[in-house]
Symmetry: D2
Subunit: 276 residues, 4 copies
């Protein structure tokens, strides 16, 4: 079988006559092992993660297609080491290899931070779904850090109207913070762990992988002492973010897996800028 | 373009020489609108559901393939009306159109039962994931009814060790009950709603779509008065099923979406027969 | 046990002092059985679906919480019958029962349209994930119809560079069309099935639940005769939508489940208005 | 607030009077970072993965509950390094800390193996979903290795009946191989990569993350030259496994994401032993 002899034309480089530009073309759900730095401001050496990537560029109205395999080659050239600080050079490399004007990268990964049980002090690693997004346009680069933080919420209404007890549940906080018009190697002044801690302060209690009996007592009573509606969580976190000068804007969503219903409750705040 | 003229051979009917029989071949994730009866014992006319079907047969060692499109045709011939009572004739039709010995049907669907809020009496429809499975072998038919029932669980340890409050959460109960060697049109003496009610009695409290303030007070305090470990839920339900003469065996799994952890807790009882 | 006697205060109506408004608060993942009209312009009586609802309103800076149970009561009052034509009155009812300015409804459901196999003419029901979204603001109502349409795509590059064959795969088209500042009972001039047919024309071939051998021959050869990159699909559909005067703007995403990779390819066009 | 002073009873150790034993109780969906060895037989140092664990034991009829936090402590004591060789000591530790007879561990993780593009030789890492399962009973230990391998399948019927082209798609192969009554530190004579390669030989073509144009030509034509029904894939792989003396039994499932339908096709072979 002769499989390799035919001269091979570059179909993607052909001209397209429909005169329709495309905002983003690329690959997604591309899993690769990476080293990620969760905190730019610390001296840490990062963490081995198994990331899912979305890599794309814009396509002008007169070219038939992009060269998908070059997106992967560009990612593999970076040799598995990513941070917000080298995002700009990655975006530039992606864009230049396609002769595009814009490029867009989303890196989603689980990041583990150690949590100390509140009484016993026992340490266990808690995973957080995180994402870095970089978008390069003619007028600069937009960087976004996103985290999903599970917390406990205890219902203020249930507590108030009942002689004892209060329904509570697992909730999820989704926070994105945006940094506009960043330059290459420019430091980001907030790290994933700081954003996570803002989220954890916003609910009735943080979650922990490992809790001994004295810790469970503490978490139970602490949550009872700090009841939060889904509206309260979103406001607690927004209050904290409003005072934070280390990013340009934020977006916020809280989801309660209600323990008295099989549907969920939510609250969202769209793109908003800190007041400082 | 002449697309339709070639004489078309039946490739699937060719002989296979590898001498390997296949236990199940067919289609799955096939969505169709159906009318399903959730209760064979009532006089009800069933419910319009959007079901996902798995339809398969065995394949002997010397035939290359089955005729997949006939599986769909058989399902469409039944005209969208399914119950446990006509499962046997459906299994027979599937098997006979493939010249197979065995056939296997799984129908998964959401079924809604009305729930009455415990104090206000307000009515709202609650969805339950359900499944009917039928397996036809040379020695008879095995029918299985499965339900997934969300309940509330309140932790007995958290209640006992804390001065006030107790962590609680949404949990899911997975129950399957099996009916062995059933014949066509033979009635099944337990319906989906009865199994669901057994599950709901097993936790700290049922869930309800619609609760007014006085109902929320009731659910909160009722759950606090009936704390259940995941082990307790599985045992409460098993106790109930053990006394039930209306099926041949059952399987049971309970999953707690722990509100103090981001991981889950579970307990399972494998295939077990009632003691009656 | 005396569970029902305590006088019950309206906690949600209390004043909040953090001065933070919330864009959306409500419930989501609420499943209810509905009758949905997929085509406003036809005389059809709609379809029984099992929908998932998101219902929310805005919350001003000085009120502690909304009354979640009223969202459900409002939905249940509509008695299970929804269309784009009565969306405005539903949005008004939601908003007024919370004393809010804005309200937002998303209804997601599977809708079945019959597909005729291209040669045999055999009819089978194909499910499409659809959504209706309504957003009420002070300056009017925005209605959005969304569909997810599976199609087949065959790679033009693979066809061109190979002596025979071409890789092809299942793809998904996501289209949303927006209707701005609609009034109550104002007709929508495009129906779900029309949008689905625009999507199906954009790929190498539509999909069908039931295909006999002569149909499979037709689909295979038709797709080979109409190769499409992910870029081509997005442009084919955008060309069609650009000429369509029956909505105000559209958004478009195509996803290819590449059969030569375990990652996916995609192309998107953000909010764009027709040129007519 | 004085949260820590109450003397704390061991509720779980209380007696239960329902006389119902539980087959498995424990935690699941527990994510931790691990070092995993994919090949016991090579000299490799393993791979950093982000695993999801299920850890459970049986519970006798007269004890109220297990001590969930000890399951985590046992996992954390192993310090993040797992292989099939130390599974026995992990199972023993889990069982002994709960005074149980049985223990059960499931570790699910993505493992990356490098793939060489067939013509250009370009190297890229491909992820495979893998799992190790260990079950300790009074009569010994059962170890299971599982992999999910994406492959390409090209339909023999579509090829045969069409003048040109053939529909093809992404498929998934699920293989488990079982090792019965293993002892601690006893070597396993087959590694994940060997099982993956058996799966990849069974379809029309393997998948690759990175393919240049000459590779795409090769994959397209190779797949066209090796058409496979879902039945053929399951038989190709079973033939290979039947001759393999390095495990005691296997289970097999193949799923085709049909590119001409929106439903899927599947074939399964239940637990079967090699003939050697």
């Amino acid at each position: 079988m002769q499989l390799e002899k035919k001269p091979i034309e570059d179909i993607q480089a052909r001209k397209d006559y429909r005169n329709i530009s495309i905002d983003r073309v690329g690959v997604c759900d591309l899993k690769i092992p990476l080293n990620i730095k969760g905190c730019e401001t610390d001296s840490g050496k990062g963490q081995s993660v198994q990331a899912s990537l979305s890599l794309s560029v814009n396509l002008g109205p007169d070219q038939k297609g992009i060269h998908m395999s070059r997106l992967l080659e560009t990612a593999l050239d970076f040799n598995g080491s990513f941070s917000l600080e080298n995002m700009a050079s990655f975006l530039t490399a992606l864009r230049d290899r396609q002769n595009s004007e814009d490029s867009d990268v989303k890196i989603e990964f689980d990041y583990f931070f150690n949590r100390h049980a509140p009484v016993s002090g026992k340490i266990s690693p808690q995973p957080y779904k995180c994402a870095y997004n970089g978008q390069m346009h003619s007028d600069g680069i937009l960087l976004t850090q996103s985290v999903v933080v599970p917390v406990k919420t205890l219902c203020p209404c249930s507590k108030e109207i009942s002689d004892y007890g209060a329904h509570n549940q697992r909730s999820k906080v989704f926070i994105s913070v945006n940094h506009e018009k960043k330059k290459e190697h420019q430091a980001i002044d907030i790290c994933l762990e700081e954003i996570i801690e803002i989220a954890e302060r916003g609910g009735s209690s943080p979650l922990y992988p490992l809790l001994k009996r004295e810790d469970e007592r503490h978490v139970t009573m602490s949550a009872y002492n700090k009841p939060c509606f889904v509206e309260d969580v979103v406001r607690n976190i927004a209050s904290d973010l409003q005072e934070n000068p280390n990013f340009d804007s934020y977006e916020l969503r809280v989801l309660n897996y209600e323990s008295i219903h099989s549907h969920n409750a939510f609250a969202t705040i769209g793109k908003r800028s800190p007041t400082t």
